[in-house]
């Protein structure tokens, strides 16, 4: 099992889902794939398909319509899976706290492992967030990162 546990930490495939966010964090998630940040250095690939994903990256506050979609996507991901909430509004609703269609943070619908604050979260912070998610996974598995 050792090699599988190590490999898990070296190859987190992410899927990005945008629940009604303002696009700020979405483009920052995309920007972290591009040459200047290049998160593929850590083996991170944006798969865009829940069946191949390990880490669900969620941006934006959950609203009444995307809550069902988010739950559905989370259920389709095979274990072990992690969820990262990127951006202030995906953590708590942030500036949209008094919008009538906003339920609040992502953790109202799916369990969140790491919260990446920032509005919009910087690519560096997103990299930090993924690394912290991996550290949590490593701790759960009892292997060193």
């Amino acid at each position: 099992m050792g090699i599988i546990a190590t490999s898990r930490l070296k190859s987190p495939w992410i899927m990005h889902f945008d629940n009604s966010s303002c696009n700020g964090c979405d483009i920052e998630v995309l920007a972290s794939l591009t040459p200047l940040y290049d998160i593929e250095r850590f083996g991170i690939v944006n798969m865009g398909n829940p069946k191949h994903t390990d880490v669900l990256v969620v941006t934006g506050p959950v609203n009444r319509r995307t809550a069902r979609v988010l739950k559905n996507l989370y259920d389709q991901i095979a274990d072990p899976k992690m969820v990262i909430a990127v951006g202030t509004c995906s953590i708590s609703g942030g500036v949209f706290h008094n919008c009538y269609n906003v339920l609040g943070g992502v953790d109202k619908v799916v369990p969140v492992d790491v919260y990446v604050p920032g509005c919009a979260a910087r690519p560096e912070a997103i990299i930090d967030g993924v690394v912290m998610a991996l550290q949590k996974l490593a701790k759960l598995q009892g292997v060193a990162l």
């Binding site: 599988i4 490999s7 040459p35 593929e40 944006n46 865009g48 191949h52 095979a78």
Partner: protein, 289 residues
Amino acid sequence: MNAWIIAIVTVIVAPFIGGFLAGIDRRITARLQGRFGPPILQPFYDFFKLLGKSKIAASRLQLMWIYAYLVLMITALLFLVLRLDILLMMFILGFAGVCFALGGFSSRSPYSHLGANRELMQMLAYEPVLLFLALGVYAQNGSFLISQIYASPTPLISRLWPIFIALLVILTIKLRKSPFDLSTSHHAHQELVKGIMTEYSGPYYALIELTEWYEIVLVLGIVSLFVANPLWVGIIIALAAYVLELFVDNITARMTVGWMVRFVWSVGVTLCILNLIWFWVFAAFKGVS
């Protein structure tokens, strides 16, 4: 007895070569795009991680097709390394492709269906060239046996270079590189998500990756047949062709299925037919028979 050892060694070593090549592919692709790129061993990390994921299958049937795809691909590779019949190898390879497409059809996802449709269209494009290649080998050596290619003093490329060019074209399809990464693409920023592979997850997706590694070795092995004597020249040519594909991948956009079939049939198949006609006319003038 000797054949058994070669077969076992091939089955074990080929995935390592394929995975290593895939890792180099990702690194070079990243460098071509101005990025740093993942570690060379990244495909292996991906593979083992996928093995450790929980098993979710959209349908039991697709698993059968995936196992068949893997077994047939290994069989085709064994035909190559054991220097058996090239025509039969091409048909086994074709059968493997059909199994993969049927696997795509056996779940209900529309993306998977469209991907499988495109996979069949891709086969329609590359199968004729592979068969013409087998015919060309027969025309030159009078035998379909790969061992004859190795025994023959004149390399295939000296007379079959048009077919070699056609093979380079379909290599793009086989390696799923742009402009022909239609049924599925490596980075999945595609209108069909992951196309034919959309519905596989976890260990089953790892099996597909494993099969792809065998496939890389197999198609590069076919390329290396063109200079079979000495073998190292053939291997260098195969690796050069692989790097060429990486460049082509990075300087072209993805084309459509119709364009691909038109292009391969008009350029690839025409080259193959002209090659064979020229070959036979040449032979007739020489008065061989």
